[in-house]
């Protein structure tokens, strides 16, 4: 585990989390969330948990983003806050 890589990844993680919450447009928020899932999958892989990283990558970054986009298709792209 490279301490520096871990440190940088976690900072990026917090940044994408804040971004996913703060962004007004729903689609951008969902894609930032999928970037967040992919980053956290890198952190798991780096912490020596390949199974969890594999699942988080496929389930978090892959499927939940598709479900979010499908839901946004039928609701609004505009978000008031």
């Amino acid at each position: 585990m490279l301490a520096l890589l871990n440190f940088v990844l976690l900072l990026l993680l917090i940044l994408t989390a804040i971004l996913a919450i703060h962004v007004k447009d729903n689609l951008t928020a969902v894609f930032t969330l999928s970037a967040y899932s992919f980053l956290i999958c890198l952190v798991y892989a780096e912490l020596g948990a390949p199974d969890v990283a594999f699942t988080e990558a496929t389930v978090g970054a892959g499927v939940s983003t598709v479900l979010f986009v499908a839901a946004i298709l039928h609701t609004t792209k505009r978000s008031s806050d």
Partner: protein, 246 residues
Amino acid sequence: MFKVSRLLVILLLLIFGFFLVSGIGELPLFGNPSNPVHKQAGNYYLEHAEIEMESPNVVTAVLADYRAVDTLLETTVVLLAGFAVMLVLFSTGNISKFEEVVNSSYILKISTKLLIPPVQLFALYVLAHGHHSPGGGFQCGVILGSSLILQALVFGVKETLNKYPPKRIINVAIFGVLIFYSIGLICFIQGGNFLDYSQLQSILSTTESHTRSLGILFVEIGVSLTVMSVIYLMYIFLITKGEVNN
């Protein structure tokens, strides 16, 4: 929730955060191998999984045998989510109302035709090699499910629905959990406790560790069937908003 000013929420959260950090300060230091967390069960699994179950990937061994109930209940949660989405988005409309424009180009169609079989083959590899390399039931199910979603994306939902109608896919989901459940039940009938794979030895007539690893494999097949069909169903119901139950 109730109308509360932003400052108050941030203040409350900071107090909660400080409370958590005070707890973390006293936790054993991050990363040293002699933490108490590894002594109890962690080291037992590392020492015995490969011997008792011939499964080098200790995580799959613990997932499907030592704590098999968690995985069985977890697959039921997935099935439950599938039922719940079908119940919530249940509308007796018919598929024709769901207008959909499929303008994927010819190149896209051909390339997905070439892409989907390898993806599904890789998923089966992930399932079969769940013992030796990272992977297993969940990952295989999700990859299979996303290959079906890819087909729905590129070739249009209506065509995919003719090929994989939801009525049959939900039965596949139930069949997956039934596989898992019936393996546990057979162990129960054979005289052991529920989900005790060593009882299957008389049926499979191999060494005890090999019966356990075969038990894990069957269970993983059940899990992947359920996860695949529920992921696909969720996408179909969310994209068509339920006008699919004809």
